[in-house]
């Protein structure tokens, strides 16, 4: 335990009983003591669930859960009905500690430890008293999140549908040796892929099969997917090819590569149109962050499309995907943290205006190699500025 949390615990031990005793149900009065919520400790063993207090004032609360038993444990904060999960931490190994941070509104709750992860858990009543600490009413968050998930899944299906059609046209042109048409279609087809890339990544091997860059290969690994074809359409000089002349793909190899992309894209479509396919709120939130990470590490550095230099298309597509993820969650974010919602709106706007200055998906973008160093740096700074608050999205929408 760090010195800081030990101090905080000591404070909590002193302050909490006073708070509970002095300002019960007093919403109008003395605000300072009502806000003084410190971390509570929870000690979970095989047969006990010791919470350091049974009551806290409304507002942010931290349960520092220590597993003092021999089994893996979980800790829940349950609603008055004993069913609704307000907040939880799972998978706490023996001897480990993990924090549960939640915003709690006045009311009656249950704490519950679940050693061994089975049964109803070891429960105790837990009271949250009125305080001056404003906890925004969240309305029916569960319904909002369900709606967000439905909307996002619909977006994914729509993009994959467009991807399948465009991929077929691209693959036909490439296999037929119509390089001009294939080059023309390359970036605009990949737009649909880049918008939903975190979904594809969630299916494990589809992402490397379709989108591996040459540098990502290990010795002896077979290269398939978009970037293999990219290199063949924008063939490098020996200097750009590790000092050796590039060997173009044969017509047979071309057809195989095109067929591969079509087949793997069909697999992606089968996955996302499966009735069981879901993408949960936390995945949407993390996906938005991952899309911006993709931009930060691959696109803004020009490493993704090293032969075609169409990185800005991918850049725009990743931003599109992140923005949709934010928008489907926006109601929840606005309810829980309006400042965050406003800041995200503003920074998406700022980044978009820089991108718009370089083109659009419809009209085409400046090749990456034509950007000045200053423009690249400006884009990178806007990505970082957006990414930082975007990394708060998941915790905000899924947190209690």
């Amino acid at each position: 335990m760090s010195r800081r949390s030990a101090t905080a615990l000591a404070l909590a031990a002193l302050v909490l009983p006073l708070t509970a005793a002095c300002v019960p149900n007093d919403t109008a009065g003395d605000g300072a003591s009502g806000a003084a919520t410190g971390p509570l400790t929870v000690r979970s063993t095989a047969d006990a669930c010791e919470v350091s207090a049974t009551s806290v004032p409304a507002g942010p609360v931290t349960f520092s859960v220590t597993n003092a038993g021999d089994d893996v444990t979980e800790f829940y904060l349950l609603g008055e009905d004993g069913l609704r999960v307000v907040a939880e931490v799972e998978n706490i190994g023996p001897g480990l500690s993990r924090d549960l941070v939640a915003q709690v509104r006045p009311g009656t709750y249950f704490t519950s430890c679940k050693p061994g992860m089975v049964g109803d858990g070891i429960r105790a009543e837990f009271t949250v008293t009125e305080s001056d600490s404003a906890v925004t009413p969240t309305g029916d968050t569960a319904d909002q999140l369900a709606a967000a998930e439905t909307q996002y899944v619909a977006y994914v299906k729509d993009q994959v549908g467009a991807l399948v059609a465009a991929t077929q046209e691209f693959a036909d042109a490439y296999a037929a040796g119509d390089d001009a048409k294939a080059r023309d279609l390359y970036a605009s087809t990949r737009v649909h892929w880049e918008r939903i890339e975190p979904v594809a990544e969630s299916f494990g091997d589809l992402d490397p099969l379709l989108d591996l860059r040459e540098a990502d290969l290990e010795d002896g690994q077979t290269w398939t997917g978009w970037h293999l074809v990219e290199k063949d359409l924008w063939q490098p000089t020996p200097d750009a090819n590790g000092g050796v002349a590039y060997t173009p793909l044969t017509p047979e190899q071309r057809k195989a590569a095109a067929d591969d992309i079509v087949a793997n894209t069909a697999k992606l479509q089968a996955q996302v149109t499966d009735p069981d396919f879901t993408f949960e709120a936390f995945q949407i939130g993390n996906g938005a962050k991952e899309l911006l990470d993709e931009v930060a590490t691959g696109k803004v550095t020009g490493e993704e499309e090293i032969w075609s230099h169409t990185d800005l298309w991918d850049f725009q597509s990743n931003v599109d995907g992140a923005r949709v993820a934010f928008e489907v969650l926006q109601d929840v974010v606005t309810a829980k943290d309006p400042d965050l919602a406003a800041q995200l709106d503003e920074r998406f706007e700022a980044l978009q205006s820089l991108l718009t200055a370089q083109g659009s998906v419809e009209t085409g973008f400046t090749p990456y190699t034509d950007l000045t160093d200053a423009q690249v740096k400006e884009l990178a700074a806007a990505v970082d500025a957006l990414s930082e608050p975007l990394s708060q999205l998941t915790a905000t929408v899924t947190g209690a």
């Binding site: 335990m1 760090s2 597993n67 893996v72 979980e74 799972e90 998978n91 190994g93 023996p94 001897g95 480990l96 500690s97 992860m117 540098a215 990502d216 290969l217 290990e218 010795d219 690994q221 590790g242 000092g243 050796v244 993390n286 962050k289 990470d293 930060a296 590490t297 803004v300 550095t301 160093d373 690249v376 740096k377 990178a380 700074a381 970082d384 990414s387 930082e388 975007l390 990394s391 998941t394 915790a395």
Partner: protein, 476 residues
Amino acid sequence: MPAPTDPHDEPTTAARSAEPAQPGPGPAMSRRALLGLGGGIAAGVAAGFGLARATGVAEPATAVAPVSSGPGTYAFTGAHQAGIVTPAQDRLYLAAFDVTTTSRDELVALLRRWTTIAARLTQGLSAGPYGPASGPYDAPPDDTGEAADLPPAGLTITFGFGRSLFVGTPAPDGTPGTDRFGLAGKLPGGLVELPHFAADNLDPARSDGDLVVQACADDPQVAVHAIRNLSRAAFGAATIRWTQLGYGRTSSTSTSQRTPRNLFGFKDGTANVKAEETAALDEHVWVPAGAAAQDTTDSSWLTGGSYLVARRIRMRIETWDRTSLREQEGLVGRTKGEGAPLSGGHEHTEPDFSRTGRGGAPLIGVDSHVRLAHPDQNEGVRMLRRGYNFTDGNDSLGRLDAGLFFLAFVRDPRTHYIPMQTQLSSHDGLMEYLEHTASGLFAVPPGVPEGSLPLGADGTPVTTDDGPFVGEALFA
């Protein structure tokens, strides 16, 4: 070998054996004082140094290891080179050299000069017999001087040989390189060309090299001073190809050291082979006599030596810092605070890879670093890691060019590094936040025998035409 006048000369047996030598416990003393040139200045400087150390973050909670309690020296001579099992110092300066001469004699002469200078510097002496402020007035001083008032700071200097020294560098089209020194017949089997690992993005200008010199010390200026003077002694025979500064050792090589943290903020190297594990050192670090018998070449010169794997691993720290604690701990497989495996326990509890949590999923993820790097997943092999954090300024996008300079000593990279790195580079979830940007592999010869170095009139090591030198058996 230290000069007889060296006040730190008393740790005789321990400091001379193959065991990690502890630095002398005596009062803080600068190299000037050792040379009898300015003891009065030394005390104040050393006191200042001690103060700086006391505020350092990497200090063990209980200061049992004398290495961090004051300046000290480690023996340069011994069965193995120093700087391997030596308790990892706080700072690194490592330099790889290209040999510019094609004369075998000049190469040998360089190694003799280096051996003498290293033997002197590691004992707190100046690079040459006069020191930085003495000698002929119309000649440049034989030591560059910036370490004059500093204590020895536990300096160790470790030498190694790259594959190109034996067989040259092949052309991009695969045309073999040139054996400049008649050494191809002595190429040890483990000194292979490392394969291209998935996602490698190596800068050739910062990779490989004919020779490598690892200087480690508790004061960065002492380490840089060593490389600077060795480089000066190399002009005409070898030039620096690349160098790497490191700080905040990321491994413990002794049980007396606390496990340090890398720039991800996690403890690193918990399962490292430690100096105290002599059987494990024999099994995983030192090249055994039997290794030469399996080579088609004559590699017996490397018996008792080791291999040094160097990898410059850039961390994408900006995106890492935006990653949830859940994902950070999940990718590493340990808690961020104590470093306990996610299967439970404390830092040094063995990970239980079979333990499952909700939904039957393993608590330590299948793509977690600790699982993929663990000996259980790698046929029991272990490494002696001796890496450092680095921050080489920033890139053009305003991001820190920072990461882990991975250094590991192993008995054979074909069994002790390549299989593990093949797994890590393609399956480790952390790879999303990592990029290997430079690479080197070197054969590290055994040490110069104790008591074998010639001494001059003042009792300090001097270079002679036939004195022993590091790697001498290679040229026998």
